[in-house]
Amino acid sequence: MVRAIAILIGAGFVAVLSWALFWSVEGLITEPPAATAVAEFHLHPKEVALASNGLLGTYDNRQLQRGLQVYKEVCSNCHSLKHVAFRDLTQIGYSAAQVKKFAADWGTKAKQFDPKSGDTTERPNTPADYFPTVYYPGQGNPPDLSLITKARHDGPAYVYSLLTGYGEPPAAMLKKYPDAKTPDGLYFNQYFATLNLAMPPPLAQDGQVTYLDGTKPTVKQMSADVSAFLAWAAEPNLPTRHGYGLAVLAFLAFFTLLTYGAYKNIWRDIKH
């Protein structure tokens, strides 16, 4: 009885699915999915050599400091970094005194509410404050950058590719897909999911910042530096994690060997 009912229900599911399959195949034949400019011209991130790449990756503090400078002088005009506190900057090689000064000098001041007068006043940032909110009046919504490298596939490489990936739409593309013309106010970038984004090329020419350590500030260099910095901002514990990871795996390998020895020893006389 159970089996007879089951076979009936099974036949029902198979029938419905065959019916759906028929229409899917029919649809595929009569209306094959149209080729799109995005499918053809969107590019995967290009590789960028960062110290944090790979299973044993760690951070290069000098590069992170340069990246912080790019963030401060360029990106922070539009993008916030709200999960990072000024105090966290001690992790990338600054002293407590340097961080204190850096926070106090930050352009956007901290807001403070005075309960006596009901007014909102401003005070300089302290190391305990987080990077302040950024209000952006232009077109588009610049996302907060504190997690951006984890919120995109292949994050650091993606940010690098995006920053160095602006250009003119290829003539071949416009010929084949006239509708793919970049709309007014947007910028063409083959690494962006829809090929056009609202962010104007933020790093357009060499020398946009002046590095204190003498590194040559080419567009590629600045892009790599800020990508490295954002990778740190998203995952500050990476070096600790990799360090502990090695120790834990070494211990577990040893532990597993011991348990294997115990297992074989206990079972040595038993055929199984």
Partner: protein
């Protein structure tokens, strides 16, 4: 408890005797997972996965309780509180990565455990109750993992909750009302987040309770084994402790090694990047996909693309998706073959491996965007899935001619390994003297 030759607990000193007379808990443990539980001597490594599933649950509960001390279930701060755990709580990143990857490890282990049961016929008489409780645990796990994934309140959390609770709106007439009632609003928000947190904290303990029943039911007939042949005598078994505690210890080592490799070196490999974007009800992600362990079922859901007679496609998809799991409850009665182990079932064995491949393809389709080619593959594979359990299995178990079974476990072992006459007990000459 199960076999007459099972060893009995004997308190060794005054204190344990005192305990035993008042609360015989040590006796219970001794009989359940100690020397008092005789287990077939021929179990292979696939029998490690039950204990590993228990370990995975333990890890989820411990990491989860500590996470809950720092997490805040409120739409305005949930995402930030998880980031606070990641950045500011001592070893918070470790707890959170261990919990998130622990869920994946839990499902890997449980899937292997389930396929073990399918291959060796562990769901058949007299073990039906163990199987029914197992399927119940699987359902509870899915509910727990789904609600846990909502808690970090990222884009996939929010839209996953939206899609899954949307299933209920497929119910005719009252569906939308039920959905709103379940969510406590028109869309996932504080009310939903809070009740999901409450249930996410509760269900693992319900799972722990059902696991106790699962093991209790197991101890009535005792463990199945790779031959599927019943235990005939003392020579067929060894005591759980130290034999299988030692073997499980080794299995646990391998499990922890793989788990740690994930947590420390690839903690986001199994997650979706979109969940690092805070929930935003106004912006739908390009592709809404659940966690990998739900992909096969998600593919079945999406395979139903056209209405059938008067039934809307969405309702069919939801029915099929739940049906694909619920049909497991009927498995013991769908398969009428008296032979348990697929090692002796030449025909069923082929279909078993086809099913494994079928589910793998379903998983691949479920994780891919809903493009025509994946939809077509899902439709073929979903049809095979239902056909396997509901049509092929009942018919194959009728017509198949099984290969000859060994007379006993010991005979099978000795035939494979060579050696002395089967009359010897498994334990002769071993460090633990047989009684």
């Amino acid at each position: 408890m199960s076999f007459p030759w099972a060893k009995h607990y004997a308190p060794s000193n005054g204190f344990t005797k005192w305990i035993d007379e008042r609360l015989p808990l040590p006796r219970l443990v001794y009989g359940a997972v100690g020397a008092g539980y005789p287990v077939p001597r021929n179990l292979n490594y696939f029998w490690n996965f039950g204990v590993l599933a228990g370990a995975a649950l333990g890890i989820q509960i411990i990491t989860g309780i500590v996470l809950a001390m720092h997490y805040a279930a409120n739409g305005g701060v949930a995402f930030d509180s998880v980031e606070h755990i990641m950045r500011d709580v001592n070893a918070g990143w470790f707890l959170r990565y261990a919990h998130a990857n622990g869920a994946s490890m839990f499902f890997i282990v449980v899937y292997i455990h389930i396929f073990r049961g399918l291959f060796y016929g562990s769901y058949k008489a007299p073990r039906e109750m163990i199987w029914l409780l197992g399927v119940t645990i699987f359902l509870l796990m899915m509910a727990t993992a789904f609600m846990g994934y909502v808690l970090p309140w990222g884009q996939m959390s929010f839209w996953g909750a939206q899609v899954i609770t949307g299933f209920f709106s497929a119910i005719p007439v009252v569906g939308e009302t039920i959905r709103i009632w379940l969510l406590g609003g028109f869309a996932p928000d504080d009310a939903a987040l809070n009740r999901f947190f409450s249930l996410h904290y509760l269900l693992p303990f319900v799972i722990a309770g059902v696991i106790i029943l699962h093991i209790w039911a197991l101890h009535i007939p005792g463990s199945n084994n790779p031959t599927g042949v019943d235990v005939k005598g003392e020579q067929d078994t060894v005591p759980f402790h130290p034999y299988y505690t030692a073997k499980d210890g080794f299995g646990l080592g391998v499990f922890l090694f793989i788990f740690a490799a994930l947590v420390f070196f690839a903690p986001n490999a199994l997650g979706h990047p979109d969940n690092y974007i805070p929930a935003n009800g106004l912006q739908t992600p390009a592709h809404i996909v659940p966690e990998w362990y739900f992909w096969p079922f998600y593919a079945i859901l999406r395979a139903f693309t056209v209405d059938f007679l008067f039934i809307p496609a969405k309702l069919l998809g939801v029915l099929a998706m739940f049906g694909s799991i619920l049909l497991l409850f009927f498995l013991p009665w769908l398969d009428s073959s008296p032979v348990r182990s697929s090692n002796y079932r030449p025909l069923y064995r082929i279909f078993f491996w086809l099913l494994v491949a079928d589910i793998a393809v379903l998983g691949w389709c479920g994780g891919s965007p809903a493009e025509p080619i994946y939809v077509i593959l899902s439709q073929i594979c979903a049809a095979y899935y239902f056909a396997h359990f509901l049509i092929i299995l009942p018919i194959v178990s009728r017509m198949e001619r099984p290969q000859p079974l060994p007379n006993s476990i010991t005979e099978a072992v000795l035939a494979k390994k060579g050696g002395t006459s089967p009359a010897h007990t498994a334990l002769s000459g071993s460090p633990v003297p047989a009684e």
